[in-house]
């Protein structure tokens, strides 16, 4: 394994690991706040128990997100020192703002998790709302950095020092579109992820009051955001077409520039021959999607210098996976949303629980695939059009060692977190069973005495 490949793999691994916890750190506070607000409004104790159960999970997941995010901030320099030397002053501003947002989130999460008995109910709910908002704000600022790598405005390298404009860099074209896409993804992953866990429990005990309440809130969040995501995706894709034609061509496996460009659904592109096998082709589909005009000319890979192509097959396949899963989640969201609106239970028919159970992991896969599209699709550039990834890597030899180390560390932590979440769910169930038993006893005695 070359040092460059090891560095890229370590970065990809660290991002893939962190993004799951980051997404939950953005989404779970929303669910928690919804549950707590439901408790304050209805006075139903099940919502209080649910809030506490979710917040216990969040304590663990947020901490893993915080430390893995710290790793990333150092890895930018450990792996890509030459990139950071150029990019630091340009995109330091959103990074600094992200630091502030993260600070706010950490402070108020501490207050939220440990402050149940120390502050008023209103103050407690407000702390939760601050956590949810600052989580989304973190995404806003990190996505600004990523957007800049893909559309580097405010940066003119030349002889000597580059001319920079940090405000123009921060407000790059991709910024807002990518943020909306990612924040929605975070809510989808959290909504369907939580739905999967509670569906698993409901398969065993479909009567559980807590899991039923949890499933409704989780599916509600997931459904609403899954329905919005295609709109956001459409805006993002058209922005890619404008800013990064090479990435769009790779996403769509579009090799020949021309009007009435077909849309390749699925299929395996061959970079050498420029052919796509086993794809379902929609005539003029790509032109229609990108420009709303069947005759629009779409740049193909043939008009892009060969050494500036991203790896076509991985980007195309990842894009198909993301969109395919997205469509499944839209369907599931429509069904779930319909049942919720009509006030019908989500636990029947029973096979729907299996669908929710599958949707959680699938949502995570879709989010990871989306990041593959963005990041692999940006290659061979680290700053699009300005600096190649290969020129940014550290001169440090033996990078396969830290890559192996972090792989083992993150695998281990993944196993630990999953096992512990299941144990937490079991512990919640034990308490629920006790509560149910106690609730049934007085009513029985009441029945006999009357």
């Amino acid at each position: 394994m070359s040092d460059l490949l090891a560095a890229r793999s370590q970065m990809a691994l660290s991002l893939a690991f962190h993004i799951v916890f980051a997404a939950i750190g953005i989404g779970l506070p929303v669910l928690m706040v919804l549950a707590e607000a439901a408790w304050l409004r209805t006075g139903k104790d099940v919502y209080r128990r649910l809030t506490r159960a979710w917040s216990k999970g969040l304590a663990l997941l947020f901490a893993v997100g915080a430390v893995s995010g710290t790793v990333l901030s150092f890895e930018l320099g450990l792996l890509w020192p030459r990139f950071m030397e150029v990019a630091g002053p340009v995109i330091g501003m959103p990074f600094s703002l992200e630091g502030l947002a993260f600070f706010t989130e950490a402070i108020f999460l501490g207050i939220y998790l440990y402050g149940w008995d120390r502050i008023s109910r209103g103050a407690h709910l407000a702390a939760g709302i601050v956590v949810a908002l600052s989580g989304a704000a973190s995404a806003l600022f990190v996505l600004s950095v990523n957007g800049w790598m893909n559309s580097p405005t405010g940066f003119l390298p030349g002889e000597g020092a580059p001319v920079i404009d940090p405000v123009a860099a921060m407000t790059n074209p991709f910024w807002i579109a990518n943020t909306i896409h990612m924040v929605l993804a975070a809510y989808i992953v959290t909504g369907f992820g939580a739905a999967a866990l509670h569906a698993l429990k409901l398969l065993k005990d479909p009567k559980s009051e807590l899991h039923r309440a949890a499933l409704r809130l989780a599916v509600g969040l997931g459904a609403l955001t899954a329905l919005l995501q295609p709109l956001s995706g459409d805006i993002t894709a058209r922005m890619v077409a404008q800013e990064q034609p090479a990435k769009l061509a790779a996403m769509e496996a579009h090799f020949e520039t021309g009007p009435c460009a077909p849309l390749n659904l699925g299929g395996l592109p061959n970079e050498e021959t420029g052919e796509v096998r086993w794809a379902l082709q929609v005539p003029c589909g790509l032109s229609l999607l990108v420009a709303k005009d069947p005759d629009a000319v779409i740049t193909g890979l043939n008009d892009i210098p060969r050494d500036e192509w991203p790896p076509v097959a991985p980007v195309h396949i990842a894009f198909q996976v993301m969109v395919g899963i997205g469509m499944l989640l839209v369907a599931l969201g429509l069904w779930g949303g319909w049942r919720i609106v009509r006030g019908e239970p989500l636990v029947e028919p029973r096979w729907m629980l299996w669908a929710f159970l599958a949707a959680g992991p699938l949502a995570v896969v879709a989010m990871q695939a989306g990041w593959v599209v963005t990041e692999v699709g940006r290659q061979p550039w680290i700053i699009y059009g300005h600096m190649r990834t290969a020129d940014a890597v550290t001169p440090m030899p033996g990078l396969v060692v830290p890559f192996t180390l972090f792989t083992l560390l993150y695998l281990f932590l993944t196993v630990v977190v999953v096992l512990l979440m299941l144990r937490l769910a079991r512990s919640v169930d034990a308490r629920e069973a006790r509560i149910q038993a106690e609730a049934e006893r007085p009513s029985e005695t009441g029945a006999t005495s009357s």
Partner: protein, 354 residues
């Protein structure tokens, strides 16, 4: 030296300030992990409970001070960041693994304990095979390794071993930090964190026996701080001549050394006499004098002999924006941070009113 400080000097000062707050707050969280490892005697379980209780609500917010320092470093002094991360790849990576394991083991262990307590309260059978003692050890060992590596990194930056010419780091990837001086600073950092934690912990409990446990630990680690600090000063004359000369050869530097020494002696005497609050203030003052002295000695270098503040500074436009964000952030975060400490550390910070 330049006359009035310019923008780069101000931002460098803020980085030092963030580092000071990090050491005073997060340092004590790591130190708590050290005392978790050395918890012993008849009150072992209670010691660990006090430590976990003290760290729990604040460690994540405290940890962010390190992120602040790192983000400021790569935004305002990108070359310094690039050189440090290249030359010190190995100790930084070890430190990161320590940070990951410390944070995650702390929350895993806590959640694990909560689940166990819940089970026992519901009349479940005795302890099942949870993560248990493995996490105890992971938490304690990572609390030990991380401060040492942080100290090794800061120590190496003070020596001229890293070297930087024409965009290339010249000192190699191992030799600069595999020297006695950086490791002395590493163990000094560990001792300092443990000392701060022990002194803070005397205020986290009202139990006189537990207080005396932490008092003994404070006296022991305080002695280690003195010894390692002295050793670092002696080794530093040869290993970090410029920093050492600047610190010991100027009136301002000598003043900081004197303040540091007097604070340390004061903290030890006050701790021995059980003046908990004053001992804490003196320990804080020792720490601040130490870091201020180090920063003063380093000036104008960020990496001694290799990267200086004016050379590495980002364009003024970036520095101005960063300072504006810091000002806005201070405005927002200081009240929030104060609220956090008010909610959880009221009795600790103002013991008279508890």
């Amino acid at each position: 030296m330049a006359g009035a400080p310019g923008l780069p000097e101000i931002v460098a000062g803020v980085i030092l300030l963030a580092l000071m707050v990090y050491v005073l707050l997060a340092g004590a969280d790591f130190g708590g992990g050290v005392w978790d490892l050395f918890a012993g005697g008849p009150r072992r379980k209670r010691q660990r409970d006090v430590i976990a209780h003290a760290i729990g609500p604040v460690w994540e917010a405290n940890h962010v001070w390190m992120i602040v320092a790192v983000v400021l470093l790569f935004t305002a002094f990108p070359r310094a960041f690039s050189v440090i991360m290249t030359a010190l790849h190995v100790p930084v990576t070890v430190m990161l693994v320590g940070i990951v394991l410390r944070g995650s083991s702390f929350v895993v262990r806590k959640l694990d304990e909560e689940i166990e307590e819940e089970r026992v309260s519901l009349g479940g059978p005795g302890p099942e095979s949870g993560p248990g003692p493995g996490w105890q050890i992971t938490f304690a060992v990572s609390s030990l390794v991380t401060p040492v590596m942080l100290g090794v990194i800061l120590g190496t930056l003070s020596t001229p071993a890293i070297g930087y010419e024409d965009g290339v780091v010249t000192g190699g990837f191992l030799r600069p930090w595999l020297q006695p001086f950086p490791w002395t600073v590493g163990f000094l950092t560990l001792a300092l964190f443990a000392w701060l934690a022990a002194i803070y912990l005397t205020l986290e409990t009202r139990d006189p026996e537990l207080r005396d446990d932490f008092r003994r630990r404070g006296l022991g680690s305080g002695a280690a701080v003195g010894l390692l600090g002295g050793l670092a000063a002696v080794l530093g004359r040869g290993a970090a001549p410029e920093v050492s000369g600047h610190l010991l050869g100027t009136l301002a530097g000598q003043a900081m050394v004197v303040v540091g020494l007097l604070s340390w002696i004061g903290a030890m005497v006050l701790l021995a006499r059980r003046h908990w609050v004053l001992a804490r203030l003196a320990a804080g003052s020792t720490t601040l004098a130490l870091l201020a002295g180090w920063g003063f000695g380093m000036y104008p270098w960020l990496v001694a002999g290799a990267v200086s503040i004016p050379e590495a500074a980002a364009p003024d436009v970036t520095l101005r924006l960063v300072l504006a964000i810091l000002a806005a952030g201070t405005f927002l975060l200081v009240p929030a941070f104060a609220y956090l400490y008010w909610v959880f550390k009221k009795q600790v910070l103002f013991p008279g009113r508890g």
